[in-house]
């Protein structure tokens, strides 16, 4: 049977992708950030899963205002890297896992979460920056040279609307994570699956309040996400907006990954092991947060 082995949480700032793609990672500005992901790259090399279920948000890339799915699962065989206005990132297209994705769609919809099923889904920095951070740049990090390489494992993209309100509640996201875990565990093939939650932490990209960062909120969120996800799930939208900036709302997506861990399941389980925790300000306009939670065995 398939199983969830770990969950990974990380910000997905576009400027991090630019720094990687232009070979700027050793610059004074960026060095502390990439140093914080060094242990993660080693951990990924030691714990490469068979599939990553990657929760992210589309930034008005695949979805315009014509169609706004609250939760969308990518069931295609491959997903091309989108041109977000600066040209596509020089990283490989993402290979999907259509059979597992279709199974999860079936099992999650039967648990009353009405997912949108998407086969044409160009993926933006929300999905590719976390892959670059955790795996390093495919193709040996040659600037602009990674298009022909490959990511180390298939990825199922799972897009959440956090751009146009109403966006889903934290409570709904945590419950969805639980449903995703049940779906993964009912898949007959023996697969190791990681569930990633991305976006955040505090940031505001618009208006006269742009640039807001709240380290106290962010660190309290990390503590609470680890130890008391049920309480974290009760944070109302307006608290994210006020405390973590208008774009800090992306953090609700972390609750989907957290809901997929065994201690949140019906059977219950041990609190996950914190394999790595990192926090850094700034990456461009944003506070970067990162966690690796392993199932405790």
């Amino acid at each position: 049977m398939a199983r969830v082995t770990a969950s990974v949480y990380t910000s997905h700032v576009p400027a991090i992708g630019v720094a990687l793609d232009l070979g700027k990672t050793d610059e004074d500005y960026w060095q502390p950030l990439f140093a914080g992901y060094q242990p993660s790259k080693q951990w990924m090399a030691d714990n490469t899963p068979d599939v990553i279920f990657l929760v992210y948000n589309d930034h008005a890339t695949a979805f315009s205002l014509d169609v706004i799915p609250t939760f969308a699962i990518g069931t295609a065989a491959a997903f091309r890297v989108a041109d977000e206005g600066w040209g596509p990132r020089p990283v490989p297209d993402v290979i999907g896992h259509p059979v597992l994705a279709a199974h999860i769609a079936q099992e999650v919809i039967m648990q009353d979460f009405d997912l949108t099923v998407v086969n044409k889904l160009p993926v933006d920095h929300g999905l590719t920056v976390p892959l670059s951070l955790m795996f390093g740049q495919p193709g040996g990090g040659r600037p602009g040279g990674g298009r022909d390489a490959a990511w180390p494992c298939p990825v199922i993209p799972f897009a959440v609307n956090v751009v146009q309100y109403p966006v889903p509640s934290g409570r709904r996201c945590l419950a969805l994570g639980r449903a995703i875990r049940r779906a993964i565990e009912s898949y007959p093939e023996d697969l190791d699956v990681q569930v990633w939650g991305t976006g955040g932490m505090s940031h505001q990209l618009q208006g006269p309040r742009a640039g807001l960062i709240n380290p106290e909120f962010d660190n309290a969120f990390l503590d609470s996400l680890i130890a008391d996800p049920e309480a974290t799930a009760e944070i109302p939208h307006v608290d994210y907006i006020r405390e973590a900036g208008s774009e800090g709302i992306e953090l609700v997506m972390w609750l989907i990954a957290r809901g997929a861990m065994s201690d949140m399941s019906d059977q219950g389980g041990p609190t996950p092991t914190v394999r790595h925790r990192f926090y850094h300000v700034p990456a461009s306009n944003t506070a970067v947060g990162h966690l690796i939670l392993e199932e405790t065995v």
Partner: protein, 165 residues
Amino acid sequence: MAAEQRAAPSTTTTAQGAKPYDDVPGTTIFDTDQARKGYWLNQFAASLMSAANRTRFLADERAYLDEWEMTEEQKQAVLDRDLNRMIALGGNIYFLARIGATDGRSFQQMAGSMTGMSEEDYRAMMVAGGRTPQGNRYRSEWEASGGPNSTPNDQGAAQAEGQKG
């Protein structure tokens, strides 16, 4: 957080009355009301994800804008590259970022341009830990103080460090 906030039926938006986020200063939440106003403005901006459209837009901005059912006010805000105005008229930052990308501007340059700070000052604020939440949580705080608090989070720490040294 207050219990009554949690119990509120919606933390998002309705067509009726006040919204829970109305009292957050310097912030426009892209909700269904804003999206309705900004539909064509945002769809125009989304069209700039294609290199061919970027070229055509830059060659004759006015002509390109006239192909869209935008209001004159929205078109003028685009021509002026006035992001705060575009957001007031229903724009969303992720859509509007396509205009910035077409101009070769980064997210940091775009965000900074909305704060009234110079690009250098905004960057310095971010490097020093970003804008503090202190004094920036409620409209009433801005009304009392005359506007946003642009003090960076690390200034207190930096000053303490300086005193030590």
